[in-house]
Amino acid sequence: MGAPILEIRGVSKRFGKLAAVDDLSLSVQTGAIFGIIGPNGAGKSTLFNLVSGVSRPDSGEILFDGVDVAGWHSDAIARAGIGRTFQNLRLFGYLSARENVMIGGHARLKATLFDSLLNTPRARREERAALSRADELLARFDLAADADRFARNLPYGGQRRLEIARALAGQPQLLLLDEPAAGANAAEKRALVDLVRAINAAGTTVVLIEHDMGVVMELCHRIAVLDYGVKIAEGDGAEVRANPRVIEAYLGTPDA
């Protein structure tokens, strides 16, 4: 595997006295599936928020493809090629599944304000193409039958898949998945693993926050473990599992 697509260097983020992320450094190789695990409150989602521009780090650099994107607006980061999903799902609930996916592809369309206003042939062509791309994605995510339903009316698993489809519609080089297996049953987890593999095989680097160790171990080439905003271990699945600090963070100290 080649150069790192995402390199986090000494990033810190404090909320009041709490250091949610503390001088964190990690590097994700292009083409990898990279796992981030850790107990609740370890700073995993905060890290995603920093990378996707929800909040800006107090210090440190976030290099995406060699460019420091720390402090950029979310939309600029999305256009640069980072897509994400949210732990607590942020779908456009009162829009159809298809519209959700089409909005995800917003940055890939070129229609200007005047194209939109005048519905120029160029805009019409582009809309048709966007529509068929959206329908393809929905079909790939087993959501074709739900295309016209409000996103909020889909079953939970469908909403999870729809959020990934929406993120992929932006054709990101880097996809951040925040607990995609949450609430999934065994069969859904199985399907999710296949889906993430397929996305990765198609050339998208994936960073995954996940509590389900089965999913993490199966998917991830490399895993970082966070605890109290600090990286306490990094390595492949076997290394991480054998690491005493990881065991301590998850299970407590033996004499506690």
């Binding site: 979310s74 939309d75 999305a78 009162y94 829009l95 229609a111 206003l117």
Partner: protein, 356 residues
């Protein structure tokens, strides 16, 4: 005649809203256009044509504001300010005021451009605000603009405004005193506004607005520049208002600051609420109903009170009471408006504690 035409427009709007296929919609729309084009020929006084033009101007205003409030979800309570800017653009550039006599047709589009520029001026610093805060700032803007026109006496004629505006000409033929030419201009303006706002609704930009309305953070993560998209909504919405302002000023041949008070903004917002925000046929229905109430029904109530009931009550004083009753009733029984779009209908009828 005013009532008959209003009823026809509402019936067609409801039908257009109900039918599914685009072809049927277009056929209905074409039928309505033909009906409206021949309607004044079938009789009816100049006063009733005049009343229809006023309603028509409200339709343009409501469709324009719908871009801002309905599509992008930005509550703008100062929309009359852009209407005033359009009207004063015509008044200052086509009257003896400065001895400038630019053509009506040029000024229509110049005023639209100017109004959208002011939309950007207002929007740029304020669109970071959300919901109520934005509403308050736009409300302030709506108050300031007429004040500025009132106090820049040297340029705007102060409280008396500017009169004797140029009578527009159409290929050299002056419009004259009849309201009929304005009727056709307004009809064309409505057609243009319908076309453009309908294009917007189904466009890349329209989708971006829907996304922002639903969840701004998620919209930004889809790569939507939320500030720019909102500015576009403000600028485009304002341009329709400026456009309508020129027609309004030319027909009246007079502008003065009191024509653009807060009530105008409130009336247009009420049209959206009544008709069904975001849904174009609904907005037309709301605008026609309230335009009719405002321009025709309420003034006649006065005559009814004096002539029939022999009481001297100034019922125009009660107009706010009547609006209030209508809106409260609407909120109680049909909060999504008379003809809502799919989203609002579902939104208003979702159980408050429903798990998402």
């Amino acid at each position: 005649m005013v009532y008959a035409i209003a009823a026809i427009v509402i019936a067609f709007a409801v039908a257009i809203d109900r039918v599914r296929t685009k072809r049927t919609k277009l056929l209905l729309l074409a039928g309505l256009a033909v009906l409206l084009a021949v309607a004044p020929r079938l009789g009816g006084s100049d006063a009733s044509v005049n009343a229809l033009v006023d309603i028509g101007i409200y339709v343009v205003l409501a469709l324009g504001l719908n871009v801002v409030v309905g599509f992008a979800g930005l509550l703008d309570l100062g929309y009359a300010a852009f209407f005033a800017i359009g009207a004063y653009t015509y008044a200052m550039l086509a009257s003896p005021q400065f001895g400038l006599h630019l053509p009506f047709w040029v000024l229509l589009f110049l005023a639209a451009a100017l109004a959208s520029l002011f939309g950007i001026v207002l929007g740029a610093p304020t669109l970071r605000l959300r919901g109520d805060y934005l509403a308050i700032v736009t409300l302030g803007f709506g108050e300031i603009v007429p004040q500025v026109f009132q106090n820049l006496t040297k340029y705007t004629g102060g409280p008396n405004g500017i009169g004797a505006l140029d009578v527009p000409t159409f290929f050299g033929i002056p419009f004259g005193q009849s309201a009929l030419p304005y009727y056709y201009v307004t009809l064309a303006a409505i057609a243009l506004t319908l076309l453009l706002t309908n294009n917007l609704r189904a466009s890349r930009l329209g989708r971006a607005w829907m996304a922002i309305r639903e969840d701004q953070l998620a919209a930004a993560h889809a790569g939507i520049d939320t500030t720019r998209s909102k500015l576009a909504a403000f600028a485009l919405g304002a341009s329709f208002s400026g456009f309508a302002g020129v027609i309004f000023a030319a027909k009246l041949s007079l502008v003065s600051p009191d024509l653009f008070q807060f009530q105008v903004s409130v009336l247009v917002v009420s049209m959206l609420v009544l008709g069904g925000m975001g849904n174009i046929p609904g907005v037309v229905v709301g605008a026609v109903l309230l335009g009719l109430l405002n321009g025709t029904v309420l003034p006649q109530l006065d005559t009814i009170a004096t002539d029939v009931l022999h009481v001297h009550a100034d019922l125009t004083q009660a107009s706010f009471l009547i609006y209030g009753v209508i809106l409260v009733g609407l909120m109680l029984f049909r909060p999504e408006g008379l003809l809502p779009d799919r989203e609002r209908r579902a939104e208003m009828h979702a159980a408050p504690n429903e798990v998402v």
